[in-house]
Symmetry: C2
Subunit: 176 residues, 2 copies
C-alpha cells in the first residue's frame, strides 16, 4: 500500500439492498486524520468476451440498456453468479447470448469499470476456434447478434456507435 | 430506435439519494409486453484527460479508491458540476489534480462506464502543448502525480497495474 494515500474504514452502513446492487455509506479516516464519508455500490462482478469467428469477424450484441435509454452495441457479457469462476461465467454468457461455443480462451485483463463509486470488476477474454450451437437467452432477455468485420468495428469506434467501456478495452486488447 | 428491443417506463421511484449518487427502481414494459423491474444509478457524468508532456510522457495520478480498497493509477478525471461543459471540467480537473495547463485539446470519445446499471458518461480528451503551473487539489483530496513513458504504460497495462476502464480506453485512443 502506497504511503500517505490510504483511507481507513471507521463505520460501514448498508443503505440500499436491491436485486443485484447494494449501496453503502461509510465513514472513513483520511490520510490527514480527518473524517469523510464515502458512498459506493457493491456489485457481484461480471465477465465479457470478444468472440472471433473463423473468418475473422467479431460477434457483438445489440440490446436496450435501460439506464441510458438506448440500444448499445457491446461484446457479450454477464454478471457472475455467487462463487462462479469467471471463465465458466464467460463461456455460459457467450453460449446464452450468441449461441457460440469456443475452444480457445485467452484472458485479456480484469478491469475496474468506475472505481470512484463501485467495486465492479469485469474479467475480459478473447474466444476463438468457435462453432455455432444454439442461442439460449434468459427468458425476458432481448438481444440481437451482429457479426462485424474489424474494419466495421474501427469505423463504429470512430463514429461513437461503440461507446461501452468494457467493449472498447476488450476490442483494443484483442488487437481488433 | 431498433425495433423489438426497447423497454418502456411504467413507473420510476427514487429509492436512495446520496451526496452524488441516486438510485432508482423502475417498472418497465418489455418488448414482449411483460413487466420487469430495473434498478440503476443516476450519476452526474465526468471527464478524463490523457495529458501528454512535450517530451512525450503521460501524466497519471495515483489515488486511493475506497470502493475497491486500493491505490489505482489513472488518468486525471473528475465529476461534472451541474450544467458544466465537459471541456471546462476537463481543464479544471487537469489543473487541480496535476498542476498542468494545456493549449491543445482533442476529444477522443464519450464512453459509458457500465450501462447495465448506470447512466454515467465520461467524456475523454487528449491534452497537449502543456506547461506546468501549480496543482491545487481539493482540500481532503490526496493525489500523487506520476510521469510515465509510453513503454512504461504498455508494461503496466500488460501486468494489470493499469486496470481502470476510462484510463485504458483513453490511452488506446490517444495512440499510446
Amino acid at each position: 500500500m502506497e504511503q500517505g494515500l490510504e483511507e481507513k474504514k471507521v463505520t460501514s452502513t448498508e443503505v440500499y439492498h436491491g436485486s443485484f446492487l447494494r449501496i453503502y455509506e461509510d465513514k472513513v479516516l483520511l490520510p490527514n486524520g480527518k473524517e469523510a464519508s464515502r458512498e459506493y455500490v457493491k456489485h457481484p462482478g461480471a465477465t465479457a468476451v470478444v468472440p472471433i469467428t473463423s473468418d475473422g469477424r467479431i460477434v457483438l450484441v445489440r440490446q436496450y440498456r435501460y439506464p441510458v435509454g438506448k440500444v448499445t452495441l457491446e461484446i457479450p457479457a454477464g454478471k457472475l453468479d455467487a462463487g462462479e469462476e469467471p471463465l465458466i461465467c464467460a463461456k455460459r454468457e457467450l453460449k446464452e447470448e450468441t449461441g457460440y461455443v469456443a475452444e480457445s480462451w485467452t484472458k485479456l485483463t480484469s478491469l475496474l469499470t468506475t472505481p470512484g463509486f463501485t467495486d465492479e470488476v469485469i474479467h475480459l477474454y478473447k474466444a476463438e476456434s468457435m462453432r455455432f450451437d444454439e442461442a439460449c437467452p434468459d427468458e425476458d432477455e432481448f438481444i440481437h447478434t451482429c457479426l462485424c468485420t474489424p474494419e466495421e468495428i474501427r469505423r463504429m469506434i470512430a463514429d461513437e456507435t461503440i461507446v461501452d467501456a468494457k467493449t472498447l478495452v476488450a476490442l483494443f486488447m484483442a488487437g481488433i
